[in-house]
């Protein structure tokens, strides 16, 4: 295969395989003080969230700010936001695998870990929004004593349930099986007996034999191939929750691609936040090099342009449709009306600010990349606010117009999921190799002259 030098080196500093293992596994042996502090903070946030959930369940949804018009509120904003962030795992692992991007190997593990935690956070919102979460199993189509009365297979809400639970299971198993060879590496390099036993258990008896690798590669091929569909399907299905209704601002065919792109956008931004943290706190700069960050930034420029196009297309279509309700929704409500701040916050942070990545000076300054990645995440939150709140609070009948603002319970719930995400990521840093060691070793040869082969004719 043609080998381009555009990307720069995949691993800095001519490391031996042993060095790669040791440096990536170092955080598992030593826990810095800040880790305990951060973990305590995240547990505090998580506890606050638990209290908010307790209030929600024991008293009811009445403790939230939702009303008959805006029945969805923060719960669904945050649900869509978390699911969007949870898109990075498959987007990184699968899309970049299909596109044969070797730089993916340093980042995919973190992206997948983030996905699993984020999707788990997301799934809590619809669950508690049901009001009686202990009856959630009613959604499963199982033979029941009610007829059996089956669920409505035409409902996007049911599709959503299937999509999210499948996505959670699939991304978790994809993530786990990718880690099995790395757990074996920990088992074989660890000094302490407890570590050997624990990681030995989780490594499923992996030895690295050719038989195992043969089937492992076939497995990754199959899972990668079919999970590629999920990158597109999950958020398309989430978008149908909105798009199949007749509410102005929701009833558009642009929604599925718009949501998928938005999800990948926020997912990539969150990955950027995470890997810059890994570089800063764990000194992983040799593996997640400047050119890795640079590559993600370039992808973000492109996606940001698509986001800008989607926003303007929506506005254009509202005008072009000539529908009074659509015109009102976009021009009087979103652009220049009650929700102008949220609209422009979304537009500026998703379509304008990421354009700064055109400048190399910005892409090379990690603090700037970090700040922009946070801005994108906030912007994507505002996008979901725009979609969920503006449309429901001003529907066809002015008599049913209502304003919505969250109560502390909803805010607490959201803070709780932030704490859960943070705690999950911290546990990931502490106990799991944060970079896929075996995959990284397999691309190490491409940094060597002649791709590390003895004979000049390269096999790749």
């Amino acid at each position: 295969m043609y080998n381009s030098k555009v990307r720069g080196r995949l691993i800095q500093g001519d490391k031996s395989f042993g060095q790669i293992s040791r440096e990536i596994l170092a955080p598992i042996d030593k826990t810095p003080i800040w880790w305990y502090f951060a973990f305590l903070v995240s547990l505090g946030m998580f506890g606050f969230g638990l209290y908010a959930k307790y209030i929600t369940v024991s008293t009811g949804i009445g403790t939230w700010g939702v009303n008959n018009s805006s029945a969805w509120g923060w719960a669904i904003i945050n649900f869509v936001w978390w699911i969007g962030i949870g898109h990075a795992g498959t987007a990184f692992s699968i899309f970049l695998l299909i596109l044969r991007q070797k730089w993916r190997t340093a980042i995919n593990r973190a992206a997948e870990a983030m996905t699993v935690v984020a999707v788990f956070c997301a799934s809590l919102f619809p669950l508690l929004h049901m009001g009686r979460p202990w009856l959630f199993f009613f959604i499963f189509p199982y033979p029941n004593t009610r007829g059996p009365l089956w669920v409505n297979f035409n409902s996007p809400l049911f599709w959503d349930f299937v999509a999210i639970s499948a996505y959670l299971l699939i991304s978790a198993s994809f993530w786990y099986f990718g880690m099995v060879p790395d757990f074996a590496t920990i088992r074989d390099t660890a000094k302490s007996k407890i570590k050997k036993a624990v990681y030995g258990f989780f490594s499923f008896g992996w030895t690295g034999s050719s038989k195992e690798w043969l089937r492992f590669e076939a497995l990754s091929f199959v899972l990668g191939g079919i999970a590629a569909v999920l990158v597109v399907s999950v958020h398309s299905i989430v978008s149908t929750d909105f798009a199949v209704s007749v509410v102005p601002g929701w009833h558009t065919t642009i929604f599925p691609p718009y949501f998928v792109i938005g999800a990948i956008f926020s997912g990539f931004a969150m990955v950027l936040t995470l890997v810059i943290t890994m570089r800063g706190l764990y000194k992983m700069n040799d593996f997640i090099t400047d050119s890795h960050v640079d590559a993600v930034c370039r992808v973000l420029i492109f996606i940001s342009l698509i986001m800008g196009t989607a926003y303007t297309t929506e506005i254009f279509m509202a005008w072009y449709s000539g529908s009074d309700y659509e015109m009102y929704m976009f021009f009087q409500n979103r652009l220049f009306g009650d929700y102008a701040f949220e609209f422009w916050a979304m537009f500026v942070s998703n379509a304008v600010i990421p354009q700064l990545f055109w400048f190399k000076a910005v892409r090379r300054r990690m603090w700037m990349v970090f700040v922009i990645s946070i801005i994108i995440n906030i912007g994507m939150w505002f996008e979901r606010f725009n979609i969920v709140i503006t449309s429901t609070s001003r529907d066809f009948l002015p008599a049913s117009w209502a304003n919505y603002s969250p109560t502390w319970v909803e805010v607490g719930f959201f803070v709780g999921t932030l704490g859960m995400f943070l705690a999950g990521v911290l546990l990931f840093f502490r106990f799991i190799p944060m970079i896929a060691i075996s995959e990284l070793k397999s691309v190490a040869k491409f940094d060597k002259p002649n791709n590390g082969q003895l004979k000049p004719a390269s096999h790749e």
Binding site: W150, F153, V162, V222, S233, G452, H459
Partner: protein
């Protein structure tokens, strides 16, 4: 390590592949090769094939038919309900659930197949020939029976780049 085996230990992929090919040219196939990451020359050279991809295809086929069949049974035959004037058999909207649930079935069934065939399961005790094979060494295990008189040749091939343990 053992009296019945020779372990050829190499530092990188290229030397392992070189030695593997030379040994294979003598008509001798190693019992097993252990490496920190998959080396395609070895996977092909060892001559083993996997049918996991075929299995996955059939899981998908049967899962898709089964799920679509179930949806049709539940919504059309068992308890038909009119939703918003749509026909009972609203085939296009069944597709969504069928696709997603099929992907889930393929994933889980293929994982179990992998686990059963590669014998990778929770709590299994690893049979380790060389404890650095998952870290930084590429290890070739050759049974002494298979080499008989060629032992000297084999040793010299391994020693060209690697070590014998």
């Amino acid at each position: 390590m053992s009296k019945n085996y020779i372990l050829g230990v190499f530092d990188d992929e290229a030397t392992l592949v070189d030695a593997f090919e030379k040994i294979k040219a003598k008509g001798i196939l190693p019992v097993e090769v252990y490496s920190p990451y998959p080396v395609h020359e070895i996977l092909i050279g060892m001559g083993k094939k996997t049918r996991i991809t075929h299995a996955a295809f059939f899981y998908g086929l049967f899962a898709a038919i089964g799920i679509l069949g179930f949806l049709t049974y539940a919504a059309v035959i068992d308890w038909p309900l009119r939703y918003g004037g749509k026909p009972f058999n609203s085939f296009p909207s069944f597709i969504v659930v069928t696709i997603v649930a099929t992907i889930l079935s393929i994933t889980l069934l293929t994982l179990f197949t992998f686990s059963a065939r590669a014998k990778i399961f929770p709590g299994k005790k690893a049979e380790i020939y060389h404890h650095r094979a998952t870290d930084d060494k590429f290890v070739m295990v050759i049974s002494k029976e298979s080499i008989e008189k060629n032992e000297k040749d084999i040793q010299s091939i391994i020693k060209e780049h690697g070590e014998i343990e």
